[in-house]
């Protein structure tokens, strides 16, 4: 079916976004890779798809690009249903997780390809190719073939190739996964700037939570092919709707407890748990647990647990600790800013955190 019925059309057009997904679903033989995805992306917005490996991120992107037909559901861009529209007519750019560079063309021709297709005048195209290659730090490699480049270099070519055409929608499938943190940082900013400058609407698939939080306007968290939560980075991080989101976006400590009458008992302390009854999972981010060696800070407003250090790791900006408390292993961290020495395993410590940093969910 190429065109939606008029009635359907109206409903579809009501989507608020420039790009809207309506009930997007993709089934394989025995397996639903993407399940009833609904999403609105505003023009010029950058949305991150975040989720564990195999949750359907790539599949969603491929459906949007038109490379995989949806089993059901619609993709609507600017009020227009794209069902049945060929990929090359969609004016979208896609950076493949596997690069998919043209093996028979050198780097410059790989990057120039999209411009040629758009019949951009030679001189302008050459200029833009040059800029794009410079942007991904590959100047001087223009005449290498993809097989002669390292993995990260290939990924950068793929990025340049997609960006140079300035598509109206840009789909990026883990475009930075093979880059080192420094370059990733720079490329991320670069992508962000270009995207904002040109007003490109972009979807950015990543498995890197930090990347998702910093680059995007909106984060979409997926799990098992389903959408778990959509929100701003702050919403997702500070107010995760589900235990999965809490656990997936940012690190988390999990404690089991029992709720009744609006409060939950967990590891000997009482936390507020309005609306919960029975077994609950209580979660706190390691970063939000303050570790102290002296007597516990006497702040009645804080939750506190005592324990002993079981593992300590130097991680650059921070020190990572594993603390055994209330029969559970809890993670926490300390800044290295003060130049503190790593606490030895066995050191008795206290963990304190604010009530508002405590998440409660029905036990899974």
């Amino acid at each position: 079916m190429i065109h939606a019925e008029p009635a359907e059309m109206t409903r579809l057009a009501q989507g608020q976004g420039f790009l809207s997904l309506r009930g997007l679903t993709r089934r394989y033989d025995h397996f639903t890779a993407v399940d009833d995805l609904n999403l609105d992306v505003a023009k010029g917005e950058l949305v991150a798809f975040l989720g564990p490996s195999g949750c359907g991120k790539t599949t969603s992107l491929r459906m949007i690009a038109g490379l995989v037909p949806a089993s059901s559901g619609h993709i609507v861009v600017d009020g227009r249903d794209l069902t049945g529209v060929a990929p090359y007519k969609r004016d979208m750019g896609l950076v493949f997780q596997s690069y998919a560079l043209f093996p028979h063309m050198d780097i410059a021709r790989n990057v120039a390809f999209g411009l040629e297709m758009r019949k951009v005048p030679k001189a302008e195209a050459a200029q833009r190719v040059k800029e794009a290659i410079a942007m991904v730090r590959l100047t001087g490699r223009e005449h290498h073939r993809p097989a002669q480049l390292s993995g990260g270099q290939q990924q950068r070519v793929a990025l340049a190739r997609a960006l140079v055409v300035r598509p109206s929608i840009l789909l990026l499938d883990e475009p930075l996964s093979n880059l080192d943190a420094k370059l990733r940082d720079e490329m991320r900013t670069e992508i962000r700037d270009i995207q904002k400058r040109l007003g490109i609407t972009a979807i950015f698939v990543t498995h890197d939570q930090m990347e998702a939080l910093t680059i995007c306007d909106k984060v979409v968290v997926m799990n098992h092919g389903r959408l778990e939560q959509v929100g701003t980075p702050h919403e997702i991080y500070e107010h995760p709707k589900t235990a999965f989101v809490a656990g997936f976006v940012g690190r988390i400590n999990r404690l089991s407890g029992r709720a009744s009458g609006g409060v939950a008992q967990v590891a000997g302390i009482t936390v507020s748990a309005p609306g919960f009854e029975g077994d609950v999972d209580v979660m706190v981010r390691p970063h939000r647990m303050v570790l102290s060696t002296g007597p516990a800070p006497a702040d009645a407003g804080l939750h506190q647990l005592s324990g002993t250090v079981t593992r300590a790791t130097f991680a650059g900006d921070i020190l990572e600790y594993e603390v055994e408390a209330a029969g559970t292993l809890l993670k926490t961290e300390a800044s290295t800013r003060g130049g503190e020495a790593l606490l030895a395993p066995g050191t008795p410590v206290t963990l304190s955190w604010r009530p508002q940093d405590t998440f409660v969910y029905a036990a899974s």
Partner: protein, 264 residues
């Protein structure tokens, strides 16, 4: 991204098999320089006269040019017809693709003698016997199956994402095909071209049925020649063809970089 060192075992095995493959040719080479009037090994005397005889033989020379033109036309048509067919079968997978692809291979399985006879009965009333068009059509029937099979295999082995990437960059299917798919199929295309050209250039049996009073292909002329006089001229022609092919390919290689087609 790297050089692949070839193991000595493979070198030895390949060397031995090459020896086997070229054994008859290695004997034919000295025979072609025989001073005798008959093919025999070892020759009792040496001479290059049979090479001279080729150029003096207008029947052979004419037949050579006809074969060359024929093989060229047949190869171009085989690619032109085989490539779309392979694409349709592999990529568009219409219902019954497998049956169709079997049907298209089927002409290979009739002994060419039968195919020749069967074609004769069909082509003669159409006035195609003894005509260039008739020869082209007959050869196409045997070269097309090769073309379709080899191209299909080559096509099926290509990574799809690369073509998808081209589509995403705004290339229409036809552009994707010519700019991405085709270049990536190079080694399959070279195989197909070589196969079709050689099969056509080498075909005797069908040609025997299809040639006419004024139109002879080289293999037919050679067959008729050897049938009557088993002199070493045929050996000289064979050697000359191999050398000629080698020279042409090397020149093309130097100028157009044919070997690049083999480098992935």
């Amino acid at each position: 991204m790297d050089e692949r060192p070839v193991s000595p075992a493979l070198k030895i095995a390949a060397g031995l098999m090459f020896l086997f493959l070229l054994a008859p040719l290695l004997v034919v080479l000295p025979i072609s320089f025989s001073g005798d009037d008959f093919m025999a090994f070892p020759p009792s005397s040496w001479s290059a006269k049979w090479y001279g005889a080729i150029f003096a033989n207008s029947v052979m020379m004419n037949a050579f040019w006809i074969s060359l033109a024929l093989a060229f036309v047949v190869t171009v048509l085989s690619l032109g017809i085989g490539l779309p067919a392979a694409y349709a079968l592999v990529r568009l997978k219409p219902p019954g693709a497998e049956a169709l692809s079997n049907l298209f291979s089927a002409p290979l399985l009739l002994p060419t003698i039968v195919l020749g006879l069967a074609l004769l009965l069909v082509f003669a009333p159409m006035g195609l016997i003894g005509s260039f068009q008739g020869l082209v059509a007959a050869h196409l029937i045997v070269t097309l199956p090769y073309a379709v099979r080899v191209l299909s295999t080559a096509l099926a082995n290509l990574p799809l994402t690369v073509e998808e990437a081209a589509g995403m960059l705004g290339a229409r299917p036809l552009t994707v095909f010519f700019r991405v798919t085709l270049p990536m199929m190079r080694s399959g295309l070279v195989s197909t071209t070589a196969l079709c050209f050689l099969v056509s250039f080498d075909e005797v049996v069908l040609s025997l049925f299809m040639t006419g009073p004024r139109l002879q292909t080289l293999p037919v002329a050679m067959y008729n020649h050897v049938d009557q006089q088993a002199d070493p001229m045929a050996a000289a022609i064979s050697v000359l063809l191999v050398v000629l092919t080698l020279a042409v390919v090397l020149v093309v290689d130097r100028t157009a970089g044919l070997t690049r087609t083999f480098v992935k």
